[in-house]
Symmetry: C2
Subunit: 216 residues, 2 copies
């Protein structure tokens, strides 16, 4: 009995490892590219596993992509929850959060490409799943941070759902509209320096928008 249980546990751990290795390989390959053009055989090769395992665990490439997004969301929402639980002001929490969003877009653009793909090119169910794992938990966190900021008499009353769209839109647009950077800033792509200037601009203008005037 004990042996059988141990063996079953071993099989489950092996499954988790195989899934994880395939997701690791996908994330690594996507991080190296500016698009989602990665084949199942590329992923199999990078992971050292057979591509049939991708079909076995994820069904198809979109299934694999969604599983990768779920892992990314899990980690990001865990970090966001840790931020909410920190013994610092709501003001500081929001500044750290805004910096985190922009730095993630900058360092891991594939996450944004995956989300875009799920919304535009995949099924309505996949788009709804993205909303469930990314949008809903963020708005729940915004509820908590705004409530804390109001208690601290530093935030104006702002509707969390509305703030989600306006803030994420502000963080994201320079990445989405990168095609226009040659005409606006005379550069082919977003440099670390320009990203940092944009980050400071978004933090500055958003925090000024949210804080009560006397709190600045």
């Amino acid at each position: 009995m004990a042996t059988r249980r141990l063996r079953a546990r071993g099989r489950r751990a092996g499954q988790r490892d195989t899934r994880g290795l395939l997701l690791d390989a996908t994330a690594a390959l996507l991080s190296e590219r500016s698009n989602l053009d990665v084949s199942l055989s590329d992923i199999a090769k990078r992971s050292g596993l057979n591509s049939a395992l991708i079909k076995y665990y994820f069904g198809n490439k979109d299934g694999l992509f969604l599983a990768l997004l779920e892992r990314v969301a899990d980690k990001a929402m865990g970090e966001l929850q840790s931020l909410v639980d920190m013994p610092i002001s709501a003001d500081q929490k929001l500044r750290i959060h805004i910096s985190g969003i922009i730095n993630t877009y900058f360092r891991s653009p594939y996450v944004n490409h995956l989300i875009k793909h799920m919304i535009v090119a995949s099924t309505p169910e996949a788009a709804d799943r993205v909303a469930e794992i990314f949008v809903k938990p963020m708005i729940d966190v915004y509820h908590k941070i705004i409530a804390q900021g109001i208690t601290e008499q530093r935030f104006r009353p702002i509707e969390p759902g509305m703030l989600y769209y306006s803030l994420v839109g502000a963080c994201e647009h320079i990445f989405y509209a990168s095609y226009s950077l040659p005409r606006t800033f005379g550069v082919g792509e977003l440099s670390e320096e320009l990203k940092q200037r944009y980050l400071e601009h978004v933090v500055d203008i958003s925090m000024n928008g949210i804080l009560v005037a006397r709190a600045r």
Copy 2:
């Protein structure tokens, strides 16, 4: 001589009318849809003209779409210039401008779909042309409005190029991320009432972000 000149003028006017009729038909059809799935024969049928004329004037569907975007940009930038020239405060100009962007996204979503298509699925030249006709003139206008606002001692110093991305991103994101509306606001699509609430939120938070504290 006079007759020949008149005839040539008549031909030019006829060309303008034909081009204009084809663009009118395209705009009308796109306004009725939630995507860009419109065929050349649909457009020909709606305009009452032969679809060969589309190829003659615009080359292909992307050429037609770009020409339509140029006409939309021409009109929008003309209106924006009129706004800049109005004898009102920079504060009022920016509020009107933000409302204008959000109302345009709401009333004519096809413009946004066309821009997205040009950026993502068309040629790099088409994407650059979009930046030239939409992004560059808007940033030029932001330069003027911000300079006026600073002279009036109402605006903090804000970099116009940075403001372009953060403000347009804030205006746009609820439309881009409409897939998440069922989970965030429990609605299938953006209603007039929700759009209006979002508009007021973006005006409020942006103006608070831009204005000096004592100017509110």
